[in-house]
């Protein structure tokens, strides 16, 4: 591949380094990329599903994943991994990505990865034909196409250094700071760069000078190359060989920094970990001399580099090899941007008419639209329009749980509050506040525990033992008076509906085997209405094609209890209106119904 990156290249960013990612998106917006260059973020310790970033004046959401495997599975087109893990984990992250496959290049930013690990990582990548940029690097850039993280610095500097569009120089450095500096020098003295890589400062880096220069030699966009080497190592000699043998034909400008090192013994470490001359041939002076001898353009000192760049560029320009560049128009990122405090993904009230998930209200409201309240629930609660049988089931649940008489705690509370002269909303809320683990809350837990048991292939006996160990009565099992012989007709109704309409009900079938066991111990330990609803909801979602973790998200968000809350509100409001209609007075509990056992408070 002659080009490292294109305008379609997308990356998976390992570690949620928000400022670096924002810089990439600012760059994307500036150069008018169609898709953001970061397709996914791996954030191992985050529980969020996405993070918000600016894209020009607007905001976009980039999905977060817990690990590279998930990220790559969800974003298979992203073939660049930006490994921002620490030196402790960077090796593992790279090796895992190489194992997963599908990456063409991996950039590793950590400095000081153990040498053996760095060598193994680099060698493994080389075997698999994956380009490693780094370790200990700020990255690489293909101007006008793709930029890694912080390379190039601020967006102002990028435009000033002409890194927003392709020029004609191929730039390879060790140092990240000097990479920026050279981009600037090249922009001032020539027409900018076509591709640039900072290979990294550690002793063992993945792609070395020659790898990058050979790729640039094959890249028609690159007309000449600039190499900034360093004292120490012998990598520059591979470049010298390639120039000598004609593998590199394009003009090369080069300079090795660290000429000062010759004045001091090896005790003084100049520059990067990789920069230490172990032999005379590894000194900056020797390398500069050897490069000059094979016809590489070598300045007298770093201070003279601008002149040489200008000379080479103007010669190629005069020969017509480099053409004038038409400066592209760019987007300008607004300097002040406000992050949105809220996100809404279910409805939109901007425009002519408010929408429910894309359906104008008028298109769902009246009977002739074919939408019932269950349709609207499925759209607003789950962002999907469910098939008829599922919509009917949702409505069946609502109707089944709408009321259960005045004596249950919620209805009682609502009635007492209404009689205290409070309005509908206060009375309703006081009723709703009783809904929880003891009242109505069994739906969530039944779904959760039965699903857990069936997922783990527990036999009914295993499950009972498991719950015993947990010290919890099985949620969704047991009724005050009902039994197998005297069944709860609400449960029978739900079961009948499911049998007739659900494609299949594996979890319910499983729950009934449990019920057989529990009722053999005690008659009234039947699958109750809460349990049946929770379990059938799971069966419904499974039949609709939801994955297990998606269903867990619903359960954990409390969506099941929400059915009870919504349904029972109908009943509570009925009781409240009943009280108002009857004009019942303030309720005071009779004292003879209270056991008083009050003793004198002790003095401490």
């Amino acid at each position: 591949m002659a080009q490292l990156y294109t305008r379609d290249t997308q990356a998976i960013f390992w570690n949620n380094n928000a400022s670096a990612i924002q810089r990439m998106l600012d760059y994307d917006y500036t150069i008018k990329r169609k898709k953001p260059s970061v397709a996914a973020i791996v954030a191992p310790t985050s529980n969020s599903k996405f993070d918000k970033f600016f894209y020009g004046p607007d905001e976009i959401m980039i999905p977060l994943y817990r690990n590279t495997t998930e990220a790559k599975a969800a974003q298979p087109q992203a073939d660049v991994l930006l490994n921002f893990a620490s030196f402790r984990t960077a090796y593992d992250v790279t090796m895992e990505a190489l194992e997963i496959g599908g990456f063409t290049s991996i950039m590793v930013t950590a400095e000081g990865i153990p040498e053996r690990l760095a060598r193994k990582m680099n060698a493994t990548a080389r075997e698999k034909n994956v380009t490693i940029i780094g370790p200990a690097t700020v990255g690489a850039i293909a101007p006008g196409a793709f930029k890694i993280a912080n390379i190039g610095g601020t967006i102002e500097n990028i435009v000033q250094s002409k890194l927003h569009r392709a020029g004609s120089c191929g730039l390879v450095t060790r140092s990240g700071g000097l990479f920026n500096e050279l981009s600037n020098i090249i922009a001032i003295n020539a027409d900018g760069i076509a591709e640039g890589v900072a290979i990294g400062g550690d002793r063992f880096v993945g792609s070395v000078f020659i790898d990058n220069l050979l790729r640039m030699e094959a890249n028609p966009e690159v007309k000449y190359m600039l190499l900034l080497g360093e004292v120490g190592g012998t990598e520059e000699y591979k470049v010298i060989e390639a120039v000598k043998s004609g593998k590199i034909k394009k003009p090369v400008i080069a300079w090795c920094i660290g000429t000062i090192a010759k004045y001091y013994d090896s005790g003084v470490q100049f520059g990067h970990a990789g920069a230490s001359a172990n032999a005379d041939s590894e000194t900056a002076e020797a390398k500069n001399k050897a490069m000059k001898e094979v016809g590489i353009h070598v300045p007298a000192s770093f201070n003279n580099l601008p002149e040489i760049i200008s000379a080479v560029y103007h010669e190629l320009h005069a020969q017509g090899i480099i053409k004038d560049i038409e400066e592209p128009s760019i987007n300008v990122c607004p300097s002040v941007r406000k992050s949105k405090q809220f996100i809404c993904t279910i409805s939109d009230d901007r425009g002519d008419e408010a929408h429910y998930c894309g359906y104008p209200i008028s298109s769902v409201a009246t009977p002739d639209t074919g939408f019932t309240i269950g349709d609207v629930m499925s759209i607003l609660w789950f962002k999907k329009r469910y098939p008829r049988w599922a919509v009917d089931f949702l409505e069946t649940v609502l109707k089944t749980v709408a009321d259960h008489g005045p004596a249950v705690s919620g209805a009682h509370n609502a009635k007492v509050t209404a009689r205290a002269g409070k309005d509908v909303i206060s009375s309703l809320i006081s009723g709703l506040l009783t809904i929880g683990p003891r009242f109505g809350g069994a739906i969530d837990d039944a779904a959760k525990y039965f699903k857990y048991a069936s997922n783990n292939g527990m036999s009914p006996n295993d499950f009972l033992n498991h719950m015993k160990k947990e010290g919890i009565p099985i949620p969704g099992i047991g009724h005050r008076i009902k039994s197998l012989k005297n069944p709860d007709l609400r449960v029978e109704g739900l079961k009948k509906f499911a049998a007739a309409n659900f494609p299949s009900t594996p979890l319910l079938d499983y729950a009934l085997t449990i019920e057989q066991l529990t009722t053999s111990k005690k008659e009234n330990l039947i699958l109750n209405v809460d349990g049946t609803i929770g379990i059938l909801m799971v069966d419904m979602w499974r039949a609709l094609g939801y994955k297990d973790d998606e269903i867990d998200v619903f359960i954990n968000a409390g969506a099941l209890n929400a059915f009870f809350i919504l349904g029972r509100s109908i009943g509570f409001i009925g009781h409240i209106l009943d009280e108002k209609r009857l004009g019942m007075p303030m309720y005071r509990h009779p004292t003879d119904d209270i056991l008083y056992d009050v003793k004198l408070a002790e003095n401490l």
């Binding site: 040498e115 060598r119 193994k120 990240g176 004292v231 520059g271 970990a273 900056a284 770093f302 201070n303």
Partner: protein, 444 residues
């Protein structure tokens, strides 16, 4: 620097600690102690009775070789192998009592080059081991280019540099499997290893090379080791560790020391303080003092840029005037930069220039990728405020060049602060070539 030399005693201790894993069929007595003086040795003898029961060998353990040629190996009193505990103790006290000259290269037995003079502070003491020359072997391993290389020779105890033709060299890619390595080593045992020792040599070499790899040695040499059947003596060892692996080798290496080499100047408290700050920071802070009385001081951001500045100063003024080398990078906090600047300013304002010239402070840097220039300059400004009076007394001209995030504010702030404090300053941004301030400062 990633590769750090360790003492012979520590190298032996690390191998001994893992001996059964790598050399299960060999025995090694691990009779060795490290002491700093004679009384420590006598004290050690209370626990390690072999110090009293056996005759001894003593030598300094301070990262330098050629101890024999330097006359710093005690193995005889009247005749070889008669050194007692008392003799070893008194010899150590004698050698530790005053500075010693040590030569690092020899022409035959004649020293060549300059000697380094320093105190001997650490000695290693072991039993004298009678053995024949034929039982001595050589083995070492290191990384050359991209490969690991194992060196083996039937000639132990020799000057390896002078006898390369007697050394067998086998190299392995980092991805080589255990089986490939074993096979290749077995096939490469030097021809002149005694026939009876060949199998044992191969087995030992395989264990040695595995220890080198798995314990993250950057260099490991035993010259010589003595093979007596299945009994092994490690007579002399040299080792370097890859200290970047330290975080995962804490248990394996134990409490290992990375001493400065003999004759090197002790690190100054300032350098140690910067090293300490560096180790605690995600950013990078480096300081080397080259010549504290010199006139030109640098406070440069970035590993690459700092080298370019040093190069340019040497080009324009030679190294006579260069006081320090160092860099800060990777987005240090304001307080880290303040500490760094204070350290440099403190060193710089201790004496006036001997020739009465103004001193020069180069605050340089390339165009930063992500380091906030204004934030780091705030730290430098805070240090200016503390040291302004001293700086004026010594006479300092400040030259600034920097670009990157927030550089306009950074440059404006530092200019204002210097003007307010009455300090001489010239300030330049990315429009000026990165090292041009060196030319301006040094050709005036």
């Amino acid at each position: 620097m990633a590769q750090k030399a360790i003492r012979e005693f520590d190298a032996k201790s690390i191998l001994a600690k893992h001996w059964d894993k790598y050399f299960p069929n060999f025995s090694y007595a691990y009779e060795t102690v490290m002491v700093q003086n004679g009384s420590e040795l006598k004290k050690a003898a209370k626990e390690k009775t072999w110090l009293k029961g056996k005759t001894l060998v003593a030598k300094p353990d301070m990262l330098f070789g050629k101890r024999g040629k330097n006359g710093l190996v005690l193995f005889k009193d009247a005749k070889p192998g008669d050194v007692s505990l008392a003799k070893a103790s008194s010899w150590i006290d004698e050698k530790a009592g005053e500075k010693q000259s040590v030569y690092f290269s020899f022409d035959g037995d004649t020293p060549s080059g300059e000697a380094k003079v320093d105190m001997l502070t650490h000695f290693i003491v072991e039993p004298f081991t009678p053995h024949s020359q034929e039982e001595e072997y050589y083995i070492s391993a290191t990384c050359v280019g991209d490969d690991d290389v194992l060196y083996m020779s039937a000639e132990g105890g020799m000057e390896v540099e002078e006898n390369w033709d007697k050394v067998t060299e086998v190299s392995f890619p980092i991805t080589a499997t255990e089986e490939e390595i074993e096979k290749k080593i077995k096939a490469s045992i030097p021809k002149d290893v005694a026939a009876k020792d060949k199998d044992a040599f191969a087995e030992f070499a395989i264990g040695f090379f595995r220890a080198y790899r798995e314990l993250n040695f950057a260099y490991l040499e035993i010259n010589p080791f003595v093979l007596q059947g299945k009994k092994v003596e490690l007579l002399d060892m040299v080792a370097k560790l890859d200290d970047t692996a330290g975080f995962m080798m804490r248990e394996e290496w134990g409490d290992v020391d990375f001493p400065t080499s003999f004759g090197m100047e002790e690190k100054s408290p300032e350098v140690l303080a910067i090293e300490d700050a560096d180790s605690k920071s995600g950013a990078s802070l480096k300081l080397t003092i080259l010549k504290p009385e010199a006139r030109v001081w640098t406070m440069v951001a970035g590993g690459g840029a700092s080298v370019v500045y040093a190069d340019t100063i040497a080009d324009f003024a030679g190294i006579e005037d260069l006081a320090n080398y160092g860099e800060y990078s990777g987005g240090p906090t304001t307080s880290e930069t303040k500490f760094y600047a204070e350290t440099v300013l403190d060193l710089m304002t201790r004496t006036k220039d001997v020739k009465g010239r103004d001193k020069v402070l180069i605050i340089g840097g390339a165009i930063a990728n992500f380091t906030d220039v204004a934030k780091t300059f705030t730290g430098i400004i805070q240090a200016f405020e503390l040291y302004a009076d001293k700086m004026k007394k010594v006479g300092i001209k400040i030259y600034v060049r920097r670009g990157g995030p927030n550089y306009e504010k950074g440059l404006k702030d530092i200019k204002e602060a210097a003007d307010r404090l009455g300090l001489y300053i010239e300030v330049y941004g990315p429009e000026t070539h990165v090292t041009d301030i060196v030319r301006m400062a040094l050709t005036k």
